[in-house]
Symmetry: C2
Subunit: 244 residues, 2 copies
DNA sequence: CGTACAATTGAGAATCCTCAAGAGCAGTGG
DNA sequence: CCACTGCTCTTGAGGATTCTCAATTGTACG
């Protein structure tokens, strides 16, 4: 995706309804903006942070997208999730002040840095901010649970369909099209996230394409038949996914 | 497991180092104890809460153990995780004040109820409590990430070995034996959590048993060769699992 | 002792992975 | 403009792991 990288700080940021400022008074948002550091620019394949590194800041995606993963000792890695604009990265580090995964830019992206110590202080001053932090953390947990369900009990085609549906819903929440979008991740990233091989992902996309449910052209995905996609994800009822 | 269900409140609770009071001053713990409701007793198969229910309290395991899961529309369910004494349940509800999974007792168990509204207020008064909440939430997230890795890129025997190792470490943290323990969950629960069938779990346990790495007698597990078990989980180096 | 439930074990089937080759696309240089 | 390289993605065939179905054993409890 190609969201215009605006340099706006929190009060003028079009993502404020999705991000930390949600639910805050206007003056509280201004207060928050004072602790948010200048945006950092990352290119494709730049690391935002590494597993094991000390965590001083949380990061909010301003534009672009990211992939977080845990690298095994033997070179294998497991993708934990993808982050789109408005989402907060680094929450796993709240346990020990060290990142428990690595995060890398999938395209040219910008992030806002939020120093952890100052965020904590501000949470004590602004109850609404503390509430919002709790909501964000709860969302991260619920989203991880969705991923666990995905990996635990889903066939290949269900996984791919669920992946597309999750993205669709998240793009929609950002005000983008929910039916046509440009994947910022490679097939390898998708496969790794879904616990499949790239060949299997490719085959399932081809199958969905053959059924006319989606149209695939490289990384451009067009969803032609949303109900059918939902039926694959949840064969019985019209399911509601927690936006992951 | 059979932890003696002591009626002690937070200041005298032997779990305080693992639970919410960790890192608090003695008088702060007393303050916390005033908002923690009387313990609730649950029998095997009793629901602590249901998916979709409004969340008014978080729950800390006082004794016994729990299983949380997401039930699909079509009767299938995916186990999200297991909870042992000192661990906090219901964190996924912080997003929308509704539980996004169901939780059920695996044996006779007790929980402490912590009203959410009063916990939030107290977090504003006691910075250390807010810190500890953040740590607990960060731990939950890191633990979920471990589960994602487990389900994404592990063979059946690696999953079973990892499961045993995770339990071993958590029991050790509770002061119980890390090599001999009594599973409170059925094979069905383990299989469901690991994304396998009960037959496969049974076969992998038999295989580990045949290799002399563990001894299985119904639900009693004895780990005879911890290094070998670790080697199965991570073939290269001596890995450190985030206690999940 | 008999029933109900949990767990184990076996044989065949299905899904997904591995290995391998080919197609599509972008960038470089003659 | 076209060949060449490098990378990503697709497609095919065979093989391995895990699932499904089925029967048996084991344990708890009335």
């Amino acid at each position: 995706m190609e969201p215009t990288p605006i340099k706006a700080s929190c009060p003028d940021c079009r993502l404020s309804e999705l991000c930390l400022p949600y639910g805050l008074q206007r003056d509280e948002v201004k207060q928050l903006a004072t602790i948010v550091k200048n945006q950092r620019l990352l290119q494709f394949d730049d690391f935002l942070y590494l597993l094991g590194e000390e965590c001083r800041c949380l990061y909010a995606v301003k534009s672009g997208s990211f992939r977080s993963f845990i690298a095994n000792g033997d070179g294998l890695e497991q993708t934990i999730g993808f982050y789109l604009p408005g989402e907060i990265m680094g929450l796993d580090a709240l346990q020990h002040d060290r990142f428990s995964c690595s995060t890398i830019a999938l395209e040219t992206s910008t992030v806002c840095e939020v120093p952890l110590s100052r965020l904590n202080s501000l949470c004590n001053e602004i109850p609404g901010l503390q509430m919002q932090m709790m909501r964000i953390l709860g969302k991260e947990i619920a989203s991880d649970h969705d991923t666990i369900v995905l990996l635990g009990h889903r066939t290949a085609i269900e996984r791919v369909a669920t992946f597309l549906l999750m993205l669709s819903q998240r793009y929609a929440a950002l005000g983008f099209s929910s039916t046509t979008f440009n994947l910022s991740m490679r097939r390898q990233d998708i496969a790794n996230f879904l616990g499949l091989t790239i060949e299997t992902v490719s085959r399932q996309l081809a199958e969905l394409s053959k059924q006319g449910i989606i149209t695939v052209k490289q990384r451009i995905i067009k969803i032609n038949d949303l109900p059918s996609l939902k039926t694959i994800v949840n064969p019985c009822a019209g399911q509601q996914l927690t936006t992951a």
